[in-house]
């Protein structure tokens, strides 16, 4: 049973858009069921690529001094025809197959490449936190220490930082209790600044403002703030913030092709804002866990937040500490809820001598001023 295939026959005698014919393939020749029937031996046929997309099969041959051509009528017929024809006996058929395959390979690889890129970008966006964690984990402790030291150097230019003395020792006494067993070597500093603020520099440098010491009513509150800042260091938040900003900046650069300083600043602001909310909430909860781990009372955290919220209400002006720590009321609620859910029976209050600390701070800064 020979299979018949629909095709179009082109020759000078036929209409220029081809004559529909039926043809079949024998062991040695192509038969075109025309009147009279055409019998074309395989060794006379030359296969070529045709059509707009170069995916058509064209079979060319010479007969009676004229050029003849046959092309399958549609893609279905073309598949049948290609399956029937012997590749080895027809000139150019192997090349025809190779070129049609290579064209589809090019497009497949283009699609796969684009799809992979999209997937990778999607994955990075989706698992952004993990990507950030992973990148941060590739930064060695030495590098972090270098960063921390350089930041500290730039902060310490005016001699407004206390590095030793009774006050620093008192802060360190509470702080070191929290950081026992840490991979970081912590340094505790007091800044000559009346705003209620404390901040952490990578590699374990924690700076507490004079204003915060004044505002805190008990050592529990100081311990809570320190626990919060310690967790910023332990979780490498500022490092991740730097990576985050660098990442956003490079994306902006890639997308816009050229990023001016203004764009960079906006990108940094937006990303830092978004980043800080996550990070502060994380540092709060982890800070509470840290306090619990070291059997220290945790009530100082919500009570200190309350104090800041009141201050904000009274002054109608944002204290510096609040501006970088948004949604204070939310944080009070969250920390209170956490304490309620995780009761700590053996926790004891932290102790300090506030008047002695403040006196020490006052005299030392006065001395520095005189030296200047």
């Amino acid at each position: 049973m020979t299979q018949e295939v629909n095709a179009l026959l082109f020759s000078p005698q036929h209409p220029h858009s081809g004559k529909p014919v039926r043809c079949s393939v024998t062991e040695s020749a192509l038969l075109v069921h025309e009147l009279p029937q055409l019998h074309i031996a395989f060794n006379q046929i030359k296969a070529e690529v045709g059509g707009f997309h170069h995916d058509q099969l064209q079979l060319h041959w010479q007969a009676d001094g004229q050029h003849w051509m046959l092309s399958p009528a549609n893609t279905q017929a073309q598949k049948q025809m290609v399956a029937l024809l012997p590749v080895a006996q027809i000139v150019g058929l192997k090349g025809w197959k190779a070129s049609t395959v290579s064209q589809s390979t090019v497009w497949k690889s283009l699609w796969i490449g684009a799809g992979t890129l999209l997937l990778v970008v999607g994955l990075i966006v989706w698992q952004y936190d993990r990507v950030l964690d992973w990148t941060a984990s590739k930064v060695s402790l030495e590098t972090e220490k270098k960063i921390g030291d350089s930041v500290l150097k730039s902060l310490d230019t005016e001699g407004q930082l206390l590095k030793e003395g009774a006050a620093v020792d008192a802060v360190a006494a509470i702080g070191n209790k929290l950081t026992a067993g840490s991979r970081y070597h912590y340094r505790w500093l007091i800044a000559n600044d009346d705003s209620i603020n404390a901040f952490a520099v990578p590699s374990g440098i924690i700076v507490v403002n004079k204003g915060l010491l004044k505002k805190a009513d008990n050592a529990n509150e100081l311990a809570a703030v320190l626990a919060h800042e310690v967790q910023h260091v332990e979780l490498r938040h500022s490092l991740k913030n730097m990576i985050n900003s660098a990442g956003i900046a490079s994306v902006v650069l890639l997308v816009l092709g050229d990023a001016n300083a203004m764009m960079m600043i906006i990108a940094h602001q937006v990303s830092a804002q978004f980043f800080s909310r996550q990070v502060e909430a994380e540092a709060d909860i982890k800070g509470l866990e840290l306090l619990e781990k070291h059997q220290m009372q945790r009530e100082g955290m919500p009570s200190f937040f309350k104090k800041i919220a009141d201050e904000y209400k009274e002054a109608e002006k944002m204290p510096a500490w609040l501006s970088s720590h948004p949604e204070t009321l939310e944080r009070i609620k969250n920390t209170q809820a956490f304490i309620k859910q995780h009761p700590c029976t053996g926790c004891v209050a932290s102790l300090w001598d506030k008047t002695a600390i403040l006196k020490d701070v006052k005299t030392r800064f006065k001395k520095e001023d005189e030296e200047d």
Binding site: F10, H16, S17, V49, G50, F52, H54, Q56, Q103, W107
Partner: protein, 269 residues
């Protein structure tokens, strides 16, 4: 259905003069109408008006793809609502020529350059024909997007310059300057060919590649692609802007010479 009665008028700025029988319809691209008889009604349709099994969304998507081929999102259908034959004229949007193509003679479809379609019968589809061959898309002069016009009856395409139809047999092929190809039958193979040597490509003025087409089928070639025409007009517009520019240049040169001369004169005393 009786064949469309039309005549193409004008030499370089052409229009089609069509006689529509009662109830006969004709589609033209947006804003191409020049004049009609009073009994011809006009309505706008999305895309080419063909139905889609996806309903409105499918038709919208088709119209969108069609708009990528340089056509407008909507087209206008003109219908003779009277009882006597009525006249309508459709004008070409730019200097050039209009060519009628009988799709039935072309095996049902032709492939044209972007924006070539001007007008045609109802039921003809204008679709996006994406150039799958990357080197042809990049260097063939027609880009990656062309349009496939399929259906039956007569379709009118338009291109700038004079339009030449060349009929290729299955043994023929032709080298064309890239950008001059307007359309071809769907059987025609379209490829590019290196001009031969670096010297030729730099100084021959034809660029690095020729477009090559091989039969069987018809190809339509334009003598002056629109971008070439517009660059000629543009440069003429710039140089022709200041008519006394030569005098102005001489004036400036005179001032410069005077300043230089005054430097030397000033040194003498």
């Amino acid at each position: 259905m009786s064949p469309l009665q039309y005549s193409i008028q004008g030499s370089d700025l052409q229009y089609i003069h069509i006689t529509l029988q009662p109830n006969e319809e004709f589609i033209a691209e947006q804003g191409a109408m020049m004049f009609t008889d009073p009994s011809i009604s006009m309505r706008a349709i999305m895309g080419d008006g063909s139905q889609s099994r996806l309903g409105v969304i499918g038709r919208f998507w088709r119209a969108f793809k069609r708009s990528l081929t340089g056509e407008s999102f909507f087209s206008s259908v003109y219908k003779n609502t009277g009882i006597t034959p009525q006249q309508i004229a459709i004008a070409a949007p730019a200097p050039g020529s209009i060519i009628p193509i009988n799709l039935d003679e072309q095996g049902g479809s032709v492939i044209c350059q972007k924006g070539a379609y001007l007008a045609g019968g109802v039921g003809q589809k204008i679709e996006l024909a994406f150039q799958k061959r990357i080197r042809v898309g990049l260097f063939g002069g027609e880009g990656f997007i062309m349009q496939r016009i399929s259906g039956s009856g007569t379709v009118f395409i338009h291109a700038s310059g004079a339009l030449k139809t060349i009929r290729l047999s299955s043994a023929d092929s032709l080298k064309i300057d890239t950008g001059c190809l307007v359309g071809m039958s769907h059987n025609v193979r379209y490829d590019i060919k290196y001009t031969g040597s670096l010297k030729t490509s730099f100084f021959g003025g034809e660029g690095l590649f020729f477009a090559t087409v091989s039969g069987p089928g018809d190809v339509w070639i334009q003598s002056l692609p629109l971008n070439r025409l517009s660059s000629v007009l543009m440069s003429a517009a710039i140089t022709g802007r200041g008519k006394g520019s030569m005098v102005g240049k001489l004036y400036v040169i005179g001032i410069i010479l005077f300043v230089i001369a005054s430097l030397f004169i000033g040194e003498k005393p």
